[in-house]
């Protein structure tokens, strides 16, 4: 399984890998927002956490459709389906590799964008922490969507449509935890703990659903 993890990481940084593109997309999306809403620093700092979260959500979805599609295109998926490793484990490892290669850079880049959004230090820290905890959930949900769409031509757009509604709870609690860290009356811990719970929940459900979908998609 470490072999699979290492292979996927290598693929993501080799030529044509998606690691850089995801971060770039993230930065571009967030950088476009001030042009839309105007350079009012107070407004930006108020909507900042939400913008950074939505940017991260879109950037995660961007690379997800290739998660299984690339394996299917060159036939590797058949061999993985045949193998006696529990398929769930294979999917889980692929999700982990995808998270390390695409989502972790987003988490690391998020403080920079927080500065652009004129967010306070506490808000930046909170967004980074919630992204760190919440983005695995996005990957796991996305894996299920990617597995469903694997057999479809032009699955890319469909993955986003399938996955976005499921990702809403993650967005809600991620953003509310970030706001709770800055605005006094709201407590930070409850939404943050719920976010952790969502991630753990999807860490089980996502790979399971993806494995079942892959078995039936293979044809």
């Amino acid at each position: 399984m470490t072999a699979l993890l290492l292979r996927d990481l290598k693929l993501s940084v080799r030529a044509g890998g998606g690691a850089l593109i995801g971060v770039l997309f993230f930065m571009t999306v967030v950088a476009v927002i001030p042009f839309g809403v105007g350079p009012d620093l107070n407004l930006l700092s108020r909507i900042g956490p939400a913008i950074v979260w939505i940017g991260a959500l879109l950037a995660v979805l961007l690379g997800l459709d290739r998660l299984f599609q690339a394996e299917r295109d060159d036939g590797s998926l058949d061999l993985m389906l045949m193998h006696e490793n529990p398929l769930v484990l294979t999917v889980l490892v692929k999700c982990l590799a995808h998270w390390l290669a695409t989502c972790l850079p987003l988490v690391i880049a998020s403080p920079l964008l927080g500065l652009f959004m004129n967010m306070s230090e506490a808000a930046i820290g909170a967004v980074m922490l919630t992204l760190l905890v919440g983005s695995p959930a996005l990957t796991f949900i996305g894996a299920a969507g990617a597995a469903v769409a694997v057999a479809l031509p032009r699955g890319g757009l469909l993955v986003s449509i399938l996955v976005l509604p499921l990702a809403i709870p993650v967005l809600i609690f991620g953003v509310s935890a970030s706001y709770a860290a800055v605005e006094d009356p709201a407590p930070f811990l409850p939404p943050f703990l719920i976010l952790i719970a969502i991630t753990l929940f999807f860490a089980v459900i996502g790979p399971l659903a993806a494995a079942v979908a892959l078995r039936h998609a293979s044809d």
Binding site: R7, D74, L79
Partner: protein, 215 residues
Amino acid sequence: MRLTAESLAARRGEELIFTNVSFNLEDGGALVLTGPNGSGKSTLLRVIAGLLRPERGRLAVTGAAVETGARVGDLSHYLGHRNAMKQELTVAENLAFWKTFLSGSERTAGQDIEEAAEAVGLGDITHLPYGYLSAGQQRRFAMAKLLVAHRPIWLLDEPTAALDASADRMFAGLVENHLGRGGIVIAATHQPLGLEKADEMRMSGFAGVDQGAWG
């Protein structure tokens, strides 16, 4: 080890591709599937590999070294139309990945990557990215994948497409060698593989397929 199929039938989508396919293979047995395009050769191989669920029929593998209820797919190598190798990685990285991924924890005796590359006649270029190679060379390294992890059953779908005559002979040698060590080979092909004592099953497609030359 004995691989048995009893009156298999499979469908793809709504269509029934074949029905009533039976065979029985012992250690060292080879089965060559022939027939026109669309007669269900690839589908049968995918059914045996466990990638498709058979519509009817039973598929079982039995033997002293096989635990009861083992899936055929777990004991098989499947060489499909696509090579299952990544263009961006070097040949050695590709083979090393499949070696560890397929051998799992028990490290079933497979060959070294260099040995396997020698066996397919391309020993010196494992450091090159896979994408740099020609189609024939890529196919040969896909065959080397069969050697790096040991599996008793080989399922080969058009293995020698895109290969020249010398590579054909090389591959026939590999298959003979595998059979000699008690392996089982099922191959779907248009070209003769040059196997001496292989049985041949002619698939003619559609429902109500005849049992062919299989006895």
